[in-house]
Subunit: 668 residues, 2 copies
């Protein structure tokens, strides 16, 4: 058992009210655009978008349950061979057939989770009514024994739990639990929570370490995190045990996935994709499908905190280091290859064929917050900040109705159309996807952003992100109210107003951003001050006080480790937590001909993009003259460069002005 | 009809004797290693190499024919659904089953063609005996009506000619014809030629423009070139007609491939792969599978010459330009993407994911020689030279027993193993391939290299390549003997000794290499001299004379058109016709850290690689200091460079010293 003194705990969303100029806009977008739009999408009512069939499937399962009440009813059986089912006639899907991918249910679960976060922060009777109705639809699909996965319910119940490796039943369960926990917390309504608990109990009836049960675990992780939440909400040890079992069993030999599919063991090669090649505590490198990986690591971090398991924490630290020191894009994107949506080898971070799935960046935010709960170290906070302002946020456009699944760091639109190696890269955001995991995932991250700003201990508040908000916290002898005014990500000024009527001392711990070389904190001069792992700890009996934080944001040139071959001879521009990029809209085409001038410096200026103001950066650079009138290959002549003015925009804001080239890393 | 005054004609291999130091070694390798080795491979006798099953299939078909003589024999029928067939038990292939890819027969055809070229130049009774026996095996497989494709013979004859699009029957026919023509020319033995003619007649019985026949044509081109050769050898118009029909019908609407497979027309998108998206004369861009494309264009050039069809010639010129001005690697490699083994879009020439199949470079050599026959223009000769010394020759190692299918311009061995996007790229040459089109293709190119050196007209000899050799040519009133001594590719000195007893004037036309800025030709001062399209024409009544040619070879830095994004900020090294590269064996690892010094110059020096002497180049450059002790991303600091000595070796010679990094284009 490890020393739990370093732990901190998530704050309840209820404790926080976001007032931040930047994030309030994003949350409003989620509330006004994303969530209603996604409800339409889940109901197949978005013109010209790929249908989801998600709600269709729940309704179909409910209908089948109705029909099954008739004693003469014979349950139809369909093949479960295919991973995606499409109606023969797209105009006429059959009423009680399953359509979409095997994991289609999870899109609903993420949507209801996002809805819950919105409701927890602001009442909305109409939204709550829609949500309640949706819960009725979903719960009507549940089987008498608690089972709740429409793919098997509609196709062939006898085949359930026969393909944990690839068919996402436990993944869908995990998301359902997360949605249910959030909805209960927001509304105190138990219906979905009860359904989720019954489903978890049904799973535990069939899967587990006990004699006669399947010794399986999720092919796509998320249930681990979800069961941790369910345990924390309900206090029921059986949910903790199920999650713990999933972690302990994973990767043990003989590998369950091999047994399940009668595959010859291949030394773990195949199971790396699932992070099932080794017991989780022995895993040294982040490998395989990137979203699965960081969901697993997040679950491991949860259980390390809940059970005090030092070996899990050590593994989490090791895997974290492997990602952020060797396998993460500047934007926080992870998963360098579209083949298997996976981590590539160390330092292999190509910009134009990057995968960097939106969900994976979101997963890194999950992982980062959980590592912060294990120990306050600004390294985790820095990455959390990097993810939310860059690699995750880039997944959505300014209208809240268009999405990226893949977040490249360099785009040539022609290549996306003409070069099949880049067909996973879209030069503009899309309305929806057949596999639409990312849009609702982003909605739930943004909707719950308040729970990433702070963590707490009995006698301490940690400020990890500088997002304008109000937090209320009970202390033993009174309460502490913290009001944060912030101009992030545009200016590094933060004003913390603290009102406290408690008579005991309390610590306010402030993250000193890694990108800032000169952090200044004024106020509370009488507090006991110490700095540790990038956090400034201010301890005192608080009254009514104001802290003025100043983290000067200067645009800066950034380089990659020289082992990143794709970035050699190149540099990128950052300012505060924001990664910047060049777009064709500002800099013309052929961005590859541009060179940065390292000595030139930058000017910040306001720029309107699709109706929103962002801070653009202007600088001087060079444009190489094209080799005109030469053959494809000619004798080398020193290239000629003309001075040009260059413009950078925040990476998250790219592709809001139509199709064009973009690049994060430029020649220098 | 166009003016045929520009035409020249191939020389017979018999007229030429290669004496060249460089190519004599390669031919000896083909004779002593490649051809015997490949015979073993075709017979599945190479340990640890993927079995070919090629000869097995012919023998199996012969056995089936024997059994079919029994009246009670019922022909077994197997599915033709799969493109590749493997024995259930690899240890025990069944005697009369087909194995390998649908096009497996063609490997034999290319092998016998290579054998023929060797025999044409030098008698070898033992080799001829093996060849004759192999021909007996092949001919025993032929059906009574002339049909000869073991895939359908062994699986299901009723299905023949039902999948011209993808199942390579006409491709196999084409290669069989080419092998048969070569073997007849070498030995005057008719058996294989007769079999090939009968197969062509059988095809013409079922396929063609006449009522009741299938209006099909080859999915993989080569038959066009082959039928041109067969017509030229036999003078039989019916072979010309069949080839002409293939060209005329290709790409006409409705597309035969769509009809054959009941596919909805998609505006030609799908059929671009087959160059069947438009009538051949209307095709503007080189698209689709690169080998198919250049085989088609080579056939078009043949028919342009044979029929004087100006529209075909115009199309050939246009397609040629598109390749060499926009889609060809420095090495002459074509086909930038492994997806579809195909051309990518203009200027998309990535170095590390290049496909650049050996067969495609060989196909470009075919195309170049045929364009030279249409008009002597040094542009074609320059590319021919580029292919044979670089992108084609790199396909084989110095032992003649290891082969590249893919010829990248940059290799990081770790990436080939770890990054699925590069799994088509091998860092070392392989023994054999399941799909082994390249090794025998290279054998037949090298075996027939003599036929690429010259072309001729009644009163003229064109020297396209400076490969030491002797040529004998009949003129009206006597004969001309040309003896070329050459130090290519190491030195640009060439000595041409001419002995002529004819009393009429004759022209000797010499290609002035495009890479040489200062071509000097001494001798025959009394000849009428004119220069046109890169050829120096010397016309006179020749006696006994010596021409001294000097094409100074200086190592030079080369740049790519600035639209080639992958080569921006980079340069490559060439010397004469040779492309050079850096290998880890000489320059250490992390080649991406190296920079060329443009002003430094080069020193040439001899280097032994795997028992052979090559001319290496030494120069000065810089090695960037690694960003040690920094995080993955850190504030930009001007990189530090240490001076280093750099070594380049000829590209064709790379990967003869074990596994290691290689790069053609380096930072400058």
């Amino acid at each position: 058992m490890m020393d739990q003194a370093n732990f901190s705990f998530p704050v309840e969303l209820k404790q926080v009210r976001i007032t931040d100029d930047f994030w309030e806009k994003e949350i409003r977008l989620v509330r006004e655009q994303v969530v209603p739009y996604q409800w339409e999408a889940l109901n197949d009512r978005v013109p010209d978008a790929e249908p989801s069939y998600c709600i269709h499937n729940f309704k179909a399962a409910g209908k089948l349950n109705e029909q099954a009440k008739n004693k003469d009813f014979v349950r139809p059986v369909y093949s479960v061979e295919r991973f995606q089912h499409l109606p023969e006639d797209p105009e006429k899907p059959e009423e009680t057939r399953f359509y979409g991918f095997v994991f289609q249910d999870s899109d609903y679960a993420k949507w209801i989770e996002a809805v819950a976060y919105l409701l927890e922060q602001q009442p909305d009777p109409e939204l709550e009514r829609i949500a309640d109705e949706s819960i009725d639809i979903v719960c009507a699909a549940q089987q008498p024994d608690g089972y709740l996965d429409t793919f098997y319910i509609l196709n062939d119940l006898s085949k359930r739990f026969t393909n944990l490796k690839d068919y996402h039943e436990l993944y869908c369960m995990g998301h359902l639990i997360e949605g249910a926990v959030a909805y209960y917390k927001a509304t105190a309504k138990r219906k979905l929570l009860d359904a989720a608990c019954r489903y978890a109990d049904c799973v535990a009836e069939h899967i587990g370490p006990e004699e006669g049960k399947l010794r399986g675990y999720p092919g796509h992780e998320v249930a681990e995190m979800a069961l941790a939440k369910l345990y924390e909400l309900t206090g029921e040890e059986r949910f903790l045990r199920l999650g713990q079992y999933f972690l302990d069993e994973r990767g043990r030999e003989p590998c369950y996935f091999d047994l399940e599919h009668q595959l010859k063991p291949d030394g773990g090669r195949r199971n790396r994709y699932y992070q099932a090649h080794k017991p989780v505590r022995e895993q040294e490198e982040a490998v395989g499908h990137a979203v699965r990986a960081v969901y697993l690591y997040s679950g491991m971090a949860d259980f390390a905190r809940l059970t005090g398991d030092e070996s899990l924490k050590t593994a989490c630290r090791r895997l974290w280091k492997d990602i952020v020191e060797r396998k993460m894009y500047l934007t926080g994107g992870i998963g360098a290859t579209h083949i298997g949506e996976a981590f590539s080898f160390a330092y292999d971070l190509p910009n134009d064929t990057a995968y960097a799935e939106t969900c994976a960046a979101i997963g890194m935010a999950f992982f980062a917050r959980r590592m912060l709960e294990l120990e306050a170290d600004s390294e985790y906070g820095d990455v959390l900040e990097r993810e939310i302002y860059n690699g995750a946020l880039s997944g959505m456009d300014f209208s809240g109705t268009r999405f990226f699944y893949v977040n490249p760091l360099e785009v040539l639109p022609e290549a996306c159309r003409e070069d099949s190696r880049k067909e996973h890269v879209q030069p503009v955001r899309q309305k929806w996807f057949g596999c639409s995991c990312c849009p609702p995932n982003l909605a739930r991250l943004i909707g719950s952003i308040g729970s990433y700003v702070y963590t707490q201990r009995e006698d301490a508040v940690f400020v990890h992100l500088y997002i304008g908000s109000r937090l209320e916290k009970q202390l033993k002898t009174g309460s502490l109210r913290l009001e944060m005014e912030s101009w992030f990500p545009w200016e590094g000024k933060v004003r913390l107003k603290i009102e406290c009527d408690a008579t005991e001392p309390c610590t306010v711990a402030l993250r000193m951003p890694g990108w800032c070389g000169d952090c200044r904190v004024k106020g509370a001069e009488d507090a006991q001050r110490r700095q540790e792992k990038g956090y400034l700890y201010l301890t005192k009996v608080w009254g009514s006080e104001i802290l003025e934080l100043d983290f000067p944001m200067e645009a800066r040139l950034v380089q990659a480790d020289s082992r990143v071959r794709e970035d050699i001879g190149k540099a990128a521009v950052m300012r505060g937590p924001l990664v910047y990029c060049m777009e064709q809209a500002d800099n013309g085409e052929n961005l590859h001909l541009l060179r940065l001038e390292p000595e030139a410096g930058f000017t910040a200026c306001s720029l309107e993009i699709a109706g929103r103001q962002v801070l653009a950066l202007k600088g001087k650079g060079w444009r190489q003259r094209p080799t005109e009138g030469q053959r494809l290959y000619s004798v080398y002549t020193r290239p000629q460069f003309d001075p040009v003015s260059l413009t950078w925009v925040p990476y998250y804001a790219w592709a809001n002005r139509g199709e064009g080239e973009m690049q994060v890393w430029s020649r220098i």
